[in-house]
């Protein structure tokens, strides 16, 4: 067993984990933060994306021991004081989800995308979400949701 200390959504946790524990299993099963999903065994679907020290990672392709000392942000950490994050609001307003399985990963990947590129074109949004698969929406409304959030985060009027 290994002892790790990880800050998740602003709260510090010290835990005993087996070295083979994947970060996603640590979040879901040790911390009960089940908003982060697992959609594949091949590192391809992006359902598990979280931010580690500010950059998006597939938490199924990182060991929990590799996050020792890191700052992790998951979907549960986005809303502040009961106020949805603009990305969450965008997915709500633009119908960016159907079953919702891919949504936490989509939102966390979009979070990284918008911090790299606050004013993306639709093409750049599609490109930036290449690591995330959605089996329901056909992606169109996901792009709209991200553009809604981008506009709101730039303090502009949100697109119709």
């Amino acid at each position: 067993m290994a002892t790790i200390t990880v800050t998740v959504n602003g709260k510090s946790y010290t835990s005993e984990v087996e070295p083979r524990t994947l970060l996603v299993h640590y979040l879901r099963e040790h911390l009960n933060l089940t908003g982060t999903h697992i959609g594949c065994d091949t590192s391809q679907c992006g359902a598990c994306v979280v931010l580690v020290d500010g950059v998006s990672v597939k938490s199924c392709t990182m060991l929990a021991v590799q996050a020792d000392g890191a700052n992790v942000l998951t979907i549960e950490g986005l809303a502040q004081n009961g106020q949805l994050h603009p990305l969450q609001e965008g997915f709500w307003e633009c119908h960016g989800l159907q079953c919702g399985y891919c949504t936490p990963g989509m939102i966390m990947a979009a979070y990284d995308l918008l911090q790299q590129n606050p004013e993306p074109t639709d093409e750049e949004v599609r490109h930036g979400l290449e690591g995330n698969l959605c089996r329901c929406t056909g992606y169109h409304n996901i792009v709209r949701a991200v553009q809604y959030a981008a506009a709101k985060m730039r303090s502009e009027e949100v697109p119709a």
Partner: protein, 288 residues
């Protein structure tokens, strides 16, 4: 799926990592970005008893320019390389190549050292390393040594790095006036690995092509140079006819792969197409 149990070490220096490799021998494997190794562990295609995580070794992360060379630490991630100003201004083709590997999350974790040591037949970087004549620097129990790009890729997923060695950095040339390089890739649309990837480097002297190197990845079991195509271009003006002739000469010496994504015949045809595209862009840049 969960990997089989292993012992885990996170050394802080290259020397510590080498010591651990010596101590654990064949049971041990280095872990860098984990984007080839962890999927393999999850599927239990690999079950090393010991993992030596070098992602916390600070000395492997540096990116520096030294005279007319760029030295990229083996532990630098694709994102760090793609966004580095010295790389973008001195060796744009490298930034472009790593900037389109996989997806954002793969680029946030995957490292140049991991990619080159893994030597996946569909990996992008081997083509660029071959075309630019880069040098792979490694450190082992007997000290440091350098491996020329042409000697690096031995067979499918097999390189010239010895089991006890750690790759420390990769040295690339900074391209000057009259030089140009480009990478052209046919992407597998789901994984974005290269079905065929061709990197080309050219150097012009006056109006004549003085040097040319071409690296091909994806098409065969191992990334290779294209000497016949290179020779066809050198000494010409690099005009469209010369590029077409060189592209037509490409494709030899490749042990072609055929799979659900593309047949061997298709890959062979695409090597010529993507050689033409890479050469055309490299020449355009060399003339600019």
């Amino acid at each position: 799926m969960i990997p089989a149990p292993f012992q885990y070490f996170a050394p802080k220096t290259v020397n510590e990592a080498i010591g651990l490799l010596q101590q654990h021998g064949d049971d041990a494997k280095l872990l860098a970005g984990g984007h080839s190794l962890l999927p393999a562990l999850k599927l239990r295609l690999a079950q090393p008893a010991v993992l030596i995580d070098i992602s916390r070794v600070a000395e492997l992360k540096s990116i520096t320019s030294e005279g007319d060379r760029l030295v990229i630490g083996a532990g630098a991630t694709y994102r760090e390389i793609a966004t580095n100003e010295a790389v973008r201004s001195g060796c744009l083709v490298l930034a472009e190549c790593v900037g389109q590997i996989g997806d954002i999350q793969v680029r946030n974790r995957g490292t140049i050292g991991g990619s080159l040591a893994h030597a996946d037949p569909a990996a992008d970087l081997p083509a660029v390393v071959l075309a630019l004549g880069a040098t792979i620097n490694v450190m082992g129990p007997n000290g440091a040594r350098s491996i020329a790009a042409d000697d690096m890729f031995v067979a499918m997923m097999t390189t010239a790095i010895s089991p006890g060695e750690v790759m420390t950095s990769v040295t690339f040339p900074i391209l000057g006036k009259g030089e140009g390089a480009a990478y052209a890739k046919l992407r597998q649309p789901a994984s974005r690995y290269a079905i065929v990837g061709v990197a080309a480097y050219v150097k012009l002297d006056g109006g004549t092509v003085a040097a040319c190197r071409i690296g091909v990845t994806g098409a065969g079991a191992v990334a290779v140079r294209q000497p016949a195509a290179e020779a066809a271009l050198v000494g010409t003006s690099g005009d469209d006819a010369a590029v077409a002739a060189a592209a037509n000469a490409a494709g030899d010496g490749i042990d072609y792969l055929g799979d659900i994504h593309a047949s061997a015949e298709y890959r062979q045809a695409m090597v010529k197409v993507y050689t033409r595209r890479a050469l055309t862009e490299a020449l355009r840049r060399a003339r600019a």
